[in-house]
Amino acid sequence: MVTSTVNRVDDATDQQRASASPRDPKGLTRKQRHWRENIAGYGFLTPWLVGFFGLTLVPMLYSLYLSFTRYNLFSPPEWIGFDNYIRMFTEDPNYTQSVKITLIYVLVGTPIKLAAALGVAMLLNYRDRGAGFFRSSFYAPSLIGASVSVAIVWRAMFSTDGPVDNSLSFFGLEIGGWVGNVALVVPMMILLAVWQFGAPMVIFLAGLKQVPRELYEAADMDGAGPVKKFRSITLPMLSSVVFFNLLLELIGAFQVFSSAYIISNGSGGPAGMTNFYTLYLYKRAFSDGQMGYASAMAWTLVIVVAIIAFVLFRTSKMWVHYQGDNR
C-alpha cells in the first residue's frame, strides 16, 4: 500500500518533470527513458559486442581449452591436460631459445628505443621553428617500420657487402653480413625497432610541450644544472607519458612478427636467432599443425603480458605523477 503510493507519487513528479522540463520533450517516464537508453546503447554497441564475444572473448576461451589438447585441425581435439605446458618448459629447446631472444629483444630494445625517443624529443623541443620538418622525418619510420617492404630493405642493407657492412669495413671493422650472423642478427632486429622511435617521440614531445616553462625558469634561478632539471622537473612531469609509452612499447615488442618472418624467410634462422615468440607460435600452428601447443604458447604470452601490465599499473603509483595530483 505504502510503496504503491510512493511509486505513484514518484511517477507523478516524474511525469510533471517530464512535461515541464525541456530535457524530455517526449514526456516519457524515467523508466521509459532508461529503457530507451538501454535499447539505444545496445543498439549502437551491437557490432562491437558481436566482435568482442564472437572474435575475442569466446575465441580466447576456446584457445584456453585448446591449450590443454592435442589438435591438428583434422581430427577432434584430444584432452592431454598440462602436457603442452610441461613440454614447452621442459622439453623444447626451440621454445627456450625463442623466449630467450624475445626477452633480449624486448628488454634491451624497448629501453633503447624509449631513450632515443625521449632524447630526440628533448632536442626537438629546444626550438619550435623548423622543428616540424624534423619531427615528420623522424616519425616516418614508425608508419612503415612494420611493413614487409622495410624488412626487405633492412635485410638488404645489413647483408654481406651491403651498405652497413661496407661502411663498417671503411672503419676497419670486417664483420660481414649481419643477417646470417648468429651474434648480430638480434642486434640488427633491435636496430630496426629503435629506428622506429618516432611514435613514442611524438608522444614525449607533446608531453614536453605541456611542462610549464616557469618550472625551468625557477630552477634556473636556483642555479640548477641540466641534469638536476632533467631529474627533478622533466622526468616527473613526463612520468605519465613514460608510463604510457613503456606499457605500449613493451607489449608491442613481444609481438614482433613480420620483420622476423621476412628477414629469415619464415625459418626463424640463423640457428633460431630470429625465431621470435610469435613467429615460433605461428610456425607451430600453421606449419606443424600443432594448434594445441601453439594455443598454450599464446596463453603463456597473454599471462606474461598481463603480469607486466599489472606490475606497471601497481608500481605506477610510486613513480607516475599526474598533473594536478597535489591540488
Partner: protein, 303 residues
C-alpha cells in the same frame, strides 16, 4: 665652434655608452646552428634506408653486392619494367588492386563500427556501459595472437579461407579497439550541450549521432581512416594465414614471393617492388603528416 666642440664631446661620450656592435655569431645563433646541423645529421641517418632504397631501384642486378655506393653506376629502368610484369603469373597492378579493395573495405568497416561503439560508450548511459568499456580497454592491451588460432578455425568452418572476409569482417565488428578509444576520447572533448541541444529538439540517439556527432568528430574520423588504411595495407599476418591463391594476394604477400626468390637472384625487382609497395603509404604520410602526428600525440596524453 665651442658649441660644436661641446657636441663633439657629447657625441663621443654617447658613443662610448652605446655597446660595441655584437658579432653576428653570438651564443644564441651558434647554438641554433649546431641544433640545425645535429637535426639534419639525424634526419640523414633516419631517412638513409629510404634514400638507399630509392637509388637501389635504379641499380642493375649485377650491382647488388658489388657496388657499395649509394648511387647506381649505370642507372637503369629495367627493374621497373621487370617488376611491372609481376610474379607467379600475376601482374603487379593486380596486387595493388587487391590491397586497395581490402584496405578501403576495412577502413569503411572500421569507421562505421568504431564510431557507433564510441558513441555508445561516450554518450549513452545504459546498463553495463562500465564493464564493456573496461573490456574494450582490456582488448587494447591483449596480444592478438591468442585469438588467431580460434579465429582461423572459425573462418575455416565458415568456408571463408582464400576469401577477403576474414580480413574485412572483423573491421565491421570494431575489433580494433584503438579506433574506438580514439573516438571516445574525441567525443568526450565535445561539450555535451552540443548534442543535448539536439536531444531537446526531440532528436533520438540515431539522429543525434548521424547529424550532430559525426560531423563534429570529423578530425577523429579522418585520422582513423588514414591509420586504418595504412595498417591494413601493411598487414602481413592475416593475409598470410587466409589468402592462398596468388591472384588474390595483397602487396605484402606478393613482396614475400619476391623475397623468397631473392636468394636465387633478382635483387633489383625485389627492392623495386618494395619501394612501390610503400608508395601509397608515403603519399598518405606526405599529405596528412600533421593530422597523423596530432593523432599519435593526443593518444599518448589522454591514455
Amino acid at each position: 665652434m665651442t658649441q660644436r666642440g661641446d657636441v663633439w664631446v657629447r657625441d663621443d661620450a654617447d658613443q662610448e655608452r652605446v655597446p660595441a656592435p655584437r658579432p653576428y655569431w653570438n651564443r644564441k645563433r651558434i647554438t641554433t646552428a649546431i641544433w640545425f646541423i645535429a637535426m639534419a645529421a639525424l634526419t640523414a641517418i633516419v631517412l638513409y634506408p629510404l634514400v638507399w632504397l630509392i637509388f637501389a631501384t635504379f641499380k642493375d642486378n649485377s650491382e647488388f653486392g658489388q657496388n657499395p655506393a649509394l648511387l647506381p653506376e649505370d642507372p637503369t629502368f629495367d627493374n621497373y619494367a621487370k617488376v611491372m610484369e609481376g610474379i607467379a603469373g600475376v601482374p603487379l597492378w593486380r596486387f595493388f588492386a587487391n590491397s586497395a579493395v581490402i584496405a578501403i573495405a576495412a577502413t569503411a568497416g572500421t569507421l562505421i563500427s568504431s564510431s557507433m561503439a564510441a558513441y555508445a560508450f561516450a554518450r549513452i548511459r545504459f546498463k553495463g556501459v562500465g564493464i564493456f568499456f573496461t573490456a574494450m580497454i582490456g582488448t587494447l592491451l591483449l596480444p592478438f595472437h591468442v585469438v588467431i588460432i580460434p579465429q582461423y578455425i572459425l573462418f575455416n568452418n565458415l568456408g571463408m579461407i582464400d576469401t577477403y572476409w576474414p580480413l574485412i569482417l572483423p573491421k565491421f565488428l570494431a575489433t580494433e579497439a584503438f579506433f574506438v578509444f580514439l573516438m571516445v576520447q574525441f567525443m568526450r572533448g565535445i561539450p555535451r550541450e552540443m548534442d543535448e541541444a539536439a536531444r531537446v529538439d526531440g532528436a533520438g540517439h540515431v539522429r543525434t549521432f548521424a547529424s550532430i556527432m559525426l560531423p563534429l568528430i570529423q578530425p577523429a574520423l579522418v585520422t582513423s581512416a588514414i591509420f586504418s588504411f595504412i595498417w591494413t595495407w601493411n598487414d602481413f599476418l592475416a593475409p598470410l594465414m587466409y589468402v592462398t591463391s596468388p591472384e588474390k594476394y595483397p602487396v605484402p604477400i606478393a613482396l614475400k614471393l619476391y623475397n623468397d626468390q631473392t636468394s636465387t637472384s633478382d635483387y633489383g625487382a625485389t627492392v623495386t617492388a618494395s619501394l612501390l609497395g610503400m608508395v601509397p603509404i608515403l603519399l598518405f604520410f606526405l599529405v596528412f603528416q600533421r593530422l597523423l602526428i596530432a593523432g599519435v600525440a593526443t593518444q599518448g596524453l589522454k591514455g
